[in-house]
Structure formats: structure tokens, C-alpha cells
């Protein structure tokens, strides 16, 4: 890329990206609001365990605390990748 191209290039507007990221993080934080403080830690430890078997990122793990007619339900979901085992299985 020539120096002129560089000068001409307009930076991509970023507000849309900010909005998308906020939408997700705010929804996630609301869902665990008022929930036990150990949830983030639990999430990280689960990730460590799951990683022994499959490659997943932290955001593949979803934790929700649902209030269901007087009961609190801890809801866990892990989005698994397409069945590929981890390349270096647990040692």
C-alpha cells in the first residue's frame, strides 16, 4: 500500500462495534446479576476442564441464573465446536 493510500484511507466507524459488544456484555451481566459471586470463577474453572477435551473459548460457556417460581436454577450451556477433540488431550 502506497503512502497516499494510507493517507486517503478513512478509519472504519466504530460506534456500531461498540454497540454490539455492549449489547452482549450487558445482557450477560444482567443475567448473572444478584447471582453468587463465585459464578465468574466457576465459569473459568469449567473452561479449564472442558479445554482438556475440546477447544472452546470462554464465551462459548454461558451461565444463567433463572428465577423460576421461587426456585433459582443455575443454567449452564457450552457451545461445542464441530466435534474436534483437543490436539493435546489431558495429561
Amino acid at each position: 500500500m502506497g503512502i497516499l493510500d494510507f493517507l486517503k484511507r478513512k478509519p472504519e466507524p466504530t460506534a456500531g462495534l461498540a454497540k454490539e459488544r455492549l449489547r452482549i456484555i450487558v445482557a450477560q451481566e444482567r443475567s448473572t446479576r444478584g447471582a453468587p459471586d463465585y459464578l465468574p470463577l466457576l465459569r473459568n474453572e469449567l473452561l479449564e476442564v472442558i479445554k482438556k477435551y475440546v477447544h472452546v473459548d470462554l464465551d462459548a460457556i454461558n451461565i444463567n441464573v433463572e428465577h423460576d417460581s421461587g426456585h433459582e436454577v443455575l443454567e449452564l450451556s457450552v457451545a461445542l465446536p464441530d466435534g474436534k477433540p483437543a490436539s493435546n488431550p489431558a495429561t
Binding site: 455492549l22 456484555i25 451481566e29 444482567r30
Partner: protein
């Protein structure tokens, strides 16, 4: 009648809480209400500077809480409005200088003295000072900037208002929540570089009570110790007037959301 307690809070620091507290309190006083504005930022007193009464602070909030001064002695009467009073924060480094009982006593005292509104300028964060500032509130003005960390923090604060206040603990009607978007820059929004009013409302799921534009006059106002709402020449001042009117129940359309069309001289010299 008991006083209506308004907390001005945000979570994130430096978003415009003190600027807003000063203008909100002044605006309410201009509307004929008897108003006290209290600086809860123990150790970092600043409201006195923004209100322009820093040289008249003798006793502060903590002195009253500890019984070292009466409310009457500690309340500083505003230079411009007879029905507006400032209670300064203490400069002590002791973060535990304020207690829930102490704060309650002061608020009750103000209520008995016939104040209509008590504006509580919260410190940043979600620690004790911020908690105490919001605990007794009837209404909250959550100050937010169109920027990711501020928006996220304000959502956190909205959650705390709904759960960690006296109203929430007693199962009373919830603290009325108002979102105030400040330091808004229409040009940057138009370029797609800044979250718009609509974006922020959508993300947080509540509508704004006002939008204060980013304005150079805010700095000039704090330099001179005059709340910006008194600057008749500034858009920020007008936007604060509108906000106060809405808080008092009036309906007013939002202003200053579009890029101002500048004349040639203004484009050259700014303004």
C-alpha cells in the same frame, strides 16, 4: 412534606456527576424549590469549587455526622440563590467517616428543615461512598457518557439502584431512574464514531431524561465557579435547564442532537 432525595451517580469516574449535581441543584432552586446539594466524595471535595463556595467551607458533612457541627453551621448558602445550600465533603482520608446512620440523620434533619430536594453528588465506583449516596434515594440521575466503559458501568449502577437501596430492601416503590447522557458530540455520532442517544437507550433499555452536549463552556464554568446551567450562552446550560424541567414533570423535546451548522467565522475560530 419530606424532602425528595436525588442521587447523581454513574459508576465510572469523571463522566460529569459533579457538573450535573451543581447544575441540577441550581436549576431546582431557580424553579423555586428549597435545595441542598451534598458532596459525598469524602477525601476528594470538589463540589464546593464547582459551586464557587470553596472559600466559605468551615464545617463539612463529616463534622455534622460526628456531631462536631450543626447542620445550620455547615450548610453554605449559595451566593446567587437564597434557597440553595451546599454541604461540602470532608477532606479526611478516613473512608469510614460516613456511616449509614449518620447519613440518615443528616437527611432527616434537612427534611425537617423544610428542604424540597436533596441532591447527593456520589463519588465514582461502587464502594461505600457511592453506596451511601444512593442508599436513601427516591430518584436517581445516572450520568453516562457515550462510551463503552461508561455505558457498562451505568448498567451496573442501575442494577444496584434496584437492589441495594433502602427502597429495594423495604420493598417500597423502586427508586425512579433517570438516565442523563452527557458529553455528547453530535459530529462524532454523525461520523459513526460515537454511540448515539438511540444506541445507548437500546443497550440499557431505558430512555434518557436529557442529553448534555460536549461543550467548552463547561470548563469555563468550573474555572469561574459558576454552575454551567447559569451560562445563558451555552448549549450545555440550556440542555441542563431542559433536563431540570423534565425532572419536574414538564415535557420538552431533546435539543442539540444535530451537528450545529457553523458560520465561517465560527468554523475558523471555534465556538
Amino acid at each position: 412534606m419530606t424532602a425528595e432525595i436525588i442521587v447523581v451517580t454513574s459508576g465510572k469516574g469523571g463522566v460529569g456527576k459533579t457538573t450535573t449535581s451543581a447544575s441540577l441543584a441550581t436549576g431546582l432552586a431557580m424553579a423555586g424549590k428549597k435545595v441542598a446539594v451534598i458532596d459525598f466524595d469524602v477525601g476528594l471535595r470538589n463540589l464546593d469549587l464547582i459551586m464557587g463556595c470553596e472559600r466559605r467551607v468551615v464545617y463539612d458533612f463529616v463534622n455534622v455526622v460526628h456531631g462536631e457541627a450543626t447542620l445550620k453551621q455547615a450548610l453554605i448558602k449559595d451566593k446567587r440563590h437564597d434557597n440553595l445550600f451546599v454541604l461540602a465533603a470532608s477532606q479526611t482520608r478516613d473512608k469510614d467517616a460516613l456511616t449509614q446512620e449518620g447519613v440518615e440523620k443528616v437527611l432527616d434533619g434537612l427534611s425537617e428543615d423544610g428542604f424540597d430536594y436533596i441532591v447527593c453528588d456520589s463519588p465514582a465506583g461502587i464502594e461505600k461512598g457511592a453506596h451511601l449516596a444512593m442508599y436513601f434515594a427516591d430518584m436517581a440521575v445516572v450520568v453516562v457518557n457515550p462510551e463503552v466503559s461508561s455505558v457498562r458501568d451505568s448498567d451496573r449502577i442501575l442494577g444496584l439502584l434496584a437492589s441495594k437501596t433502602r427502597r429495594a430492601e423495604r420493598g417500597e416503590p423502586a427508586v425512579r431512574q433517570h438516565l442523563l447522557l452527557t458529553r455528547y458530540n453530535p459530529a462524532r455520532v454523525a461520523n459513526g464514531d460515537m454511540l448515539s442517544v438511540k444506541d445507548v437507550e437500546e443497550i440499557l433499555g431505558i430512555s434518557v431524561v436529557g442529553v448534555i452536549p460536549e461543550s467548552e463552556q463547561v470548563l469555563a464554568a468550573s474555572n469561574s465557579g459558576v454552575p454551567v446551567i447559569l451560562d445563558e450562552a451555552s448549549n450545555a446550560g440550556h440542555a441542563y435547564h431542559d433536563t431540570v424541567a423534565r425532572i419536574l414533570g414538564e415535557e420538552r423535546a431533546l435539543r442539540f442532537l444535530e451537528v450545529p451548522k457553523k458560520g465561517f467565522l465560527q468554523r475558523v475560530f471555534g465556538g
